[in-house]
């Protein structure tokens, strides 16, 4: 009897923790570089994202080739010359936050997410202020931050240096649906 209750308690604990994990394959990440000469806007709508609200961990993974550019040639150059998608197909992020965010209740939470961002095979520690919004079962994670391509050893040749912003703006918008 004693063992049974112990087992049940452990099992209960185990499952409640797991229900805090939400996953999606349809997160959206876009990046933007606006200069007088050229605007670059690309969007990836197939970002995989997972949040573990119990452990306060969060992770992203995306295929660089799934970034869509309005110009075909630009997309080709992005993959071949800049991020080298054949060599480094994915960009990933894995991090955590310290703030309390209850994903079972509606509300908006400001989180400071700290973790490791890997792009072009280069991993860097980053801290990104983000917001988590919970509304009727939908958890939305959103953030905007600046990213310098040279930090990730993405080489920008001299001839196009005026056409690409030194710091690109990255926008993240991820929706998780909770199924109770």
């Amino acid at each position: 009897m004693k063992t049974l209750s112990l087992c049940a308690a452990a099992l209960l604990f185990f499952t409640t923790v797991h229900s805090q994990i939400l996953m999606t394959k349809k997160g959206v990440i876009s990046f933007h570089s606006h200069t007088i000469l050229e605007n670059v806007d690309a969007e990836n709508k197939n970002v995989m994202a997972v949040i573990d609200a119990g452990k306060k961990h969060i992770a992203f993974s995306m295929l660089m080739k799934q970034f869509v550019f309005p110009k075909k040639l630009m997309q080709q150059h992005f993959n071949e010359n800049y991020v080298e998608s054949d060599k480094f197909p994915k960009a990933t992020f894995s991090g955590s936050y310290a703030e309390d965010a209850d994903i079972t209740k509606d509300g908006t939470y400001s989180l400071t997410v700290t973790g490791k961002l890997t792009i072009h095979g280069v991993t860097r520690d980053v801290t990104i202020p983000s917001t988590l919004t919970v509304q009727s079962g939908t958890v939305t994670g959103a953030t905007t931050f600046k990213l310098n391509p040279t930090d990730y050893e993405i080489d920008i040749p001299f001839i196009v240096r005026n056409k690409i912003e030194k710091e690109n703006t990255v926008k993240v918008n991820v929706e998780w649906k909770q199924n109770y």
Binding site: K71, Q75, N79
Partner: protein, 303 residues
């Protein structure tokens, strides 16, 4: 008895459960994503087998993207063996100006004008098969090219203007083996309404093999060889067209420096009318310069 049960049966279970929960660290979240990405692999197109629409003279499987316009200047100087009097060929020039437009990402059309025999050309190219990897793997690209070449040079050999037209059908098959190496083969059929030297209509079958090898991210060496099936134009002193090139890409421009034994730059000319010989030094130095313009209105979005 009770304690023994606890230690042998329950304890491992508890440990298992504890590690199961505690073990979900940041990295295992990432591993979880990797695992589920493996199960739902997307199809990704293998793009950019070649940098430009032309390898040297032969068209590649590439076309401008949808609503993109490509302007190309193809230029060949005279023969290197013309000697010092003609400044090793630099005094003479043969040129083709061309416009290529992408109706869709797969369908391209183009027009051009060559100074060689004052020729107009037009083509339609459709990409039947796009190389891709992932869920749906397609090993090769196939593009079908249909072109019309019409020369307007005043000459008595043709009798009528209709005789100055030739028609080209070409299947271009290419594979991007790696980010550096792409190879292509293109069987070609040309119908000349009147082949000038033979003074009759002529069917010609040929095959082109070519490839490009990138040695930096933005530079590549290209080569193409056009094999004319023997017996096709026996009565004519013809050479097979062999061309070498260096591609340099900068943003929307592609510069191609070329060495070739062909003076003409369109199918009816470089396949069926090449009489320069590499061995004799009948080598034309030249370049192709192309510039890409996009007419894609950038979608209004709340970025």
């Amino acid at each position: 008895m009770e304690t023994k049960l606890l230690s042998t049966r329950i304890l491992p279970l508890i440990i298992l459960l504890l590690t199961g929960t505690v073990g979900i660290t940041q990295d295992s979240l990432l591993t979880m994503l990797e695992d589920s990405s493996k199960s739902s692999q997307a199809t990704v197109a293998v793009e950019g087998a070649f940098k430009a629409i032309h390898l040297v003279n032969t068209q590649t499987t590439e076309s401008p993207g949808k609503k993109e316009l490509n302007f190309i200047i193809m230029h060949r100087f005279g023969k290197l063996n013309d000697g010092a009097y003609n400044f090793f060929g630099l005094d003479n020039a043969s040129i083709r100006l061309g416009l290529d437009y992408g109706i869709s990402d797969r369908l391209g059309v183009g027009i051009g004008r060559s100074s060689f025999e004052k020729t107009f050309d037009g083509y339609v190219k459709y990409k039947l098969l796009q190389q891709s990897s992932g869920k749906k793997t397609v090993p090769i690209n196939i593009s079908l090219l249909v072109a019309v070449n019409h020369l307007t040079l005043r000459s008595d050999t043709f009798v009528s203007a209709q005789n100055k037209t030739s028609y080209i059908t070409q299947a271009i098959i290419a594979r991007k083996f790696s980010s550096a190496l792409s190879l292509m083969v293109a069987p070609t059929y040309i119908h000349y309404n009147r082949y000038p030297v033979l003074r009759s209509a002529k069917e010609v079958f040929a095959a082109t093999v070519g490839g490009r090898l990138k040695f930096t991210k933005r530079m590549a060496i290209t080569a193409e060889y056009n094999y004319l099936i023997p017996g096709m134009l026996d009565a004519v002193d013809l050479e097979h067209s062999l061309s070498l090139g260096l591609d340099i890409e900068t943003g929307g421009h592609v510069f191609q420096l070329v060495f070739t034994n062909s003076n003409g730059m369109i199918e009816s000319q470089y396949i069926g009318k090449t009489n320069g010989s590499w061995g004799n030094g009948d080598i034309f130095f030249g370049f192709n310069v192309s510039r890409n313009f996009s007419f894609n209105k950038e979608k209004k979005k709340n970025w």
